[in-house]
């Protein structure tokens, strides 16, 4: 196995070549903040919260940057702290996030991240966009007001369930998650009703219709358990 040695926050470590900086840091006991990353899904660098300073280049997204020989990486600097808080503030400004009336209040990765980056208020003005809620599916709902476009739902449906119900439609401020090339979710035959997209949603954007405030069954960790189980069934590599 090819290996490379690097330093992350002054900790020397050796990892397999190709390992992402996010996973390499985790092996060194350093948890880099992230919202779009989820173990078991292809990394996409959508949220940019995992930006790290690398001596050879400007800030890079740790989830999509491979460790390289001799690299020196910093994961927590004043610049990165400022960038991360600003990114979370932009997410709050971009959508309509009202924790008090959200199903995910108290169990929301965006809310937890806001606390972690020290966002005691939003320095940016709110945009208050006019967005819709799709309740056409018999079991689940999609509230675009709460979506941060992390694309976990898109990836889990395509890569794990194999149904590929979701895509990212439109661009810029009109960018949103679409089902079946922009149909109401309930009209999409390829949806198997498995609920994986709901389980991995970091906010209250995707939810079970029967649940109400403070009753948000989001279980992103179940994906890793499922994938481990599948690997065991397929036999030793």
């Amino acid at each position: 196995m090819n290996v490379c040695s690097l330093r992350i926050d002054d900790r020397a470590l050796t990892v397999a070549a190709g390992t992402s900086l996010l996973l390499a840091a985790r092996r060194a006991g350093i948890v880099i903040p992230s919202l779009c990353h989820l173990d078991g899904l292809t990394p996409v660098g959508a949220c940019r919260l995992c930006l790290v300073e690398v001596d050879t280049a400007g800030p890079l997204a740790a989830c999509v940057t491979a460790a390289a020989e001799g690299m020196r990486v910093r994961t927590d600097t004043p610049l990165l702290r400022d960038i991360r808080r600003s990114l979370v503030e932009m997410l709050f400004s971009e959508g309509n996030h009202t924790c008090a009336v959200c199903i995910a209040d108290g169990d929301c990765e965006l809310q937890t991240m806001a606390l972690r980056v020290g966002m005691d208020h939003n320095r940016l003005p709110g945009r208050f966009p006019s967005r819709t809620v799709d309740l056409s599916h018999p079991l689940f709902g999609l509230d675009h007001n709460r979506c941060i476009l992390c694309t976990r739902c898109v990836r889990v449906c395509d890569e794990v369930e194999g149904a590929h119900v979701w895509d990212v439609g439109w661009r810029g401020e009109r960018c949103r998650i679409i089902a079946g090339l922009d149909q109401p979710w309930g009209a999409v035959d390829s949806c198997s009703h498995c609920g994986k997209c709901v389980e991995v949603c970091p906010t209250g954007a995707l939810f079970h219709k029967g649940s109400c405030g403070g009753d948000h069954p989001s279980h992103p960790e179940r994906l890793a358990a499922l994938l481990r189980g599948r690997r065991r069934q397929e036999g030793p590599p």
Binding site: A100, G118, M119, D120
Partner: protein, 176 residues
């Protein structure tokens, strides 16, 4: 801030549900301790005074700015207060008070509340000079005046309110 004399404390209620004030009252017996070192000079729940006084040390301001009265009072509070605390999620993020922002003008909410959901005899309230005009969009305090301390929560936990007031008494500015 006065250290010899009692701290001059105000609590203010703009557009919010008063839940933050209820959380403040939930401090129960500690309020007696507070009264030993703080004088409540203006408050919807602990004072009869109708006009915001001068020379206030600390003001807990609940609620967002959703109408002209809110704005006028906030400007007065800022002018007459040393430490302005943005008190609760409506003050900080507009929260429930700001749910109407994506709908555009306040007229949409008035129509829905007073006409569409009425039993046939509904009419939109209109009493200039008596009812303050609604503002669009609903804004958090720091979008309009400088804020010194942010005390989040819907409502803020009473223990957190107490911790902030005790820190301010010691002359500290609590930060997250």
């Amino acid at each position: 801030m006065n250290t010899e004399q009692r701290l001059r404390l105000a609590t203010v209620w703009l557009s919010g549900c008063s839940g933050c004030h209820m959380a403040f009252l939930d401090l129960d017996a500690w309020l007696l301790e507070l009264a030993a070192w703080a004088e409540v000079v203006y408050s919807p729940v602990a004072s009869d005074r109708k006009v915001y006084p001068d020379d206030v040390d600390v003001a807990l301001v609940e609620g967002a700015v959703a109408n002209d009265d809110n704005l006028a009072l906030l400007l007065q509070v800022r002018q007459r207060t040393r430490v302005l605390v943005s008190f609760g999620d409506c003050a900080i993020h507009t929260n429930v008070s700001g749910l109407r922002n994506p709908l555009g003008a306040a007229e949409a909410v008035l129509q829905r509340s007073y006409l569409q959901l009425a039993d046939g005899s509904g009419q939109c309230p209109h009493a200039p000079g008596l009812l303050p005009a609604l503002r669009t969009p609903v804004l958090p305090l720091h979008a309009l005046v400088p804020v010194d301390v942010y005390l989040p929560g819907c409502p803020p936990d009473p223990a957190r309110i107490r911790a902030v007031l005790e820190a301010l008494r010691r002359g500290e500015r609590p930060r997250p």
